[in-house]
Amino acid sequence: MRVVEPVVELTRGLWTTLRSMFEKPVTIQYPEQKRPVRPRFRGRHVLKRYENGLEKCIGCALCAAACPADAIFVESAENTDEERYSPGERYASTYEINMLRCIYCGFCEDACPTEAIVLGDNYELSFTDRRQAIYPKDMLLEPVADVTMLTPQKTEPGVYTRSVPEMKDPSD
């Protein structure tokens, strides 16, 4: 049947598309049904806390220095035992990330000495205003389980003496 080969090939194409009509649709109904992200997905940043509620961020601004897009702005202030935000000497009094500038490279995560900033799994970052694109600290901070863990906390003197808190595995 060499002569009618053009027709055979066209028919084969039509058959392929007709067969695909009876496959199960791959569509995911997005807003109702969300696909879990990959383990190494880099989404919106989260500022982590210790178990007692103190912030991991010590306001060193290394993340801001590492940021290639200059998206992070950090201003630090001194901790006192009456008003303690982080276990270190200082804390971030202002922490802002401009989500329009951020390229989600994860360098801030790598630069952070206390593993305070982590790129989470939230990718639904839509805003209607340029100002809304700047995420302040209270939006980035991890939520706490109960009110007593909120910062600032009042701590006993002599507990937090190090300028940089001790880490479990500094090489990590």
């Binding site: 060499r2 002569v3 009618v4 080969e5 053009p6 027709v7 066209l10 194409g13 039509l14 392929t16 598309t17 007709l18 695909s20 009509m21 496959e23 199960k24 649709p25 791959v26 569509t27």
Partner: protein, 378 residues
């Protein structure tokens, strides 16, 4: 002329236009759903149950959209062009019967607007008017892409119209009349698709080119022409062009069903049963609706399957393959009818056999051409 007749015509005309406009809206829905299923998606399912209100949402969006007119565009023609494109697509269906003559409350009701004795000729002449709309849309937009789209459209439609008309002629010859109702009645015993399969194939291919459907949607090749003749159109004016395209699809499927697939006659396996249109005349519109839906699915299916072919090859196919083939088909049909009348009625079956042989010969010639080593370079 009596007054009741005019009122009846008016009502039938309004109903037909409403059917075509509603049909356009739901044809877009049908196409999107069918395409989605072929591409293993779901398709529109947000507006209303199963997305059934999607066409209405689209219509509302198009009505409220801003309609800019390009600077230095020919304003009159720019506004006129969508109308000139749409009107032929609507009026072309006037001569096509949707069902047999029925008796409703003692009144004879015919399911067509006009039963003129040159129905097929009317269809051919009205079909060629819609070219003007597209050319004017392209020209008046003052945009080189629109202009190119309009020009391509003219060349393509003029070329394929000849093959299309010759395919019409094969049906006219078989029926021995140009009156649409008589053509349908002539297919009472056998559909013309069986008597003239090659003519039907030519008709189906040529209609794809005639209504600018993929794989012959050269006038609006978006990768090359950013939308072709409707590049500069938006809002309701765009909707009119869009509507014209889809109404042309419906109209051409209606005509194809009438000429080759038995029109409003029942399917062959229902002949002489209780479901025959002779027994139940109101089944006629339902049968033709089913036939239109099947033919439309064919168009959507072809769109989902084949890529757009190159412009020079489209023209080569039209002039070098379809035109000689359709001429041969008309000749074979005519000779077959003469032999059947003069010698033996069994000669009628010579028409499909010889036509298929000629069709295979044409395909073999295409195959030979495609296998030539220097084909890719040209």
């Amino acid at each position: 002329m009596n007054f009741a007749l005019v009122v009846e015509w008016l009502i039938k005309g309004v109903v037909l236009v409403l059917i075509l406009l509603g049909g356009f809206a739901y044809l877009t829905y049908y196409e999107r759903k069918a395409l989605a299923r072929i591409q293993v998606r779901i398709g529109p399912n947000r507006a209303g149950p199963w997305g059934l209100l999607q066409p209405i949402a689209d219509a509302i969006k198009l009505i409220f959209k801003e309609e800019p007119t390009p600077a230095r565009a020919d304003k009159l023609l720019f506004i006129l062009a969508p109308i000139v494109t749409l009107v032929p697509a609507l009026v072309i269906t006037a001569v096509v019967p949707w069902g047999p003559t029925m008796t409703v409350f003692g009144h004879k009701l015919t399911l067509y607007i006009a039963d003129i004795n040159v129905g097929v000729l009317y269809i051919m002449s009205v079909a060629s008017i819609s070219v003007y709309g597209i050319v004017l849309a392209g020209w008046s937009s003052n945009n080189k892409y629109a202009m190119m789209g309009g020009l391509r459209s003219t060349a393509q439609m003029v070329s394929y119209e000849i093959a299309l008309s010759l395919a019409f002629i094969s049906a006219i010859l078989l029926a021995g009349t140009m009156r649409m109702t008589d053509i349908v009645e002539a297919q009472k015993s056998i559909w013309f698709v069986l008597l003239q399969p090659v003519g039907t194939a030519i008709f189906l291919i040529a209609t794809l080119a005639e209504v600018n459907r993929p794989p012959f949607d050269m006038p609006e090749a978006e990768q090359e022409l950013t939308g072709g003749y409707h590049t500069e159109y938006s809002g309701m004016k765009f909707a009119l062009l869009f509507m014209a395209e889809y109404d042309k699809m419906i109209a051409i499927c209606l005509i194809g069903a009438t000429l080759f697939f038995g029109g409003f006659r029942e399917f062959w396996f229902l002949a002489n049963t209780i479901f025959s249109v002779d027994r139940m005349p109101w089944l006629g519109p339902i049968y033709i609706f089913i036939k239109i839906v099947i033919l439309l699915f064919g168009m959507i299916w072809v769109r989902a399957t084949f890529p757009r072919i190159r412009y020079d090859r489209l023209m080569a196919f039209g002039w070098k393959v379809l035109l000689p083939l359709s001429l041969a088909v008309v000749f074979i049909t005519a000779v077959g009818i003469i032999l059947a009348e003069q010698v033996n009625p069994l000669w009628m079956w010579g028409i499909p056999v010889v036509s298929l042989l000629v069709g295979v010969f044409a395909i073999a010639m295409i195959d030979r051409e495609l296998r030539r080593k220097d084909y890719a370079r040209r």
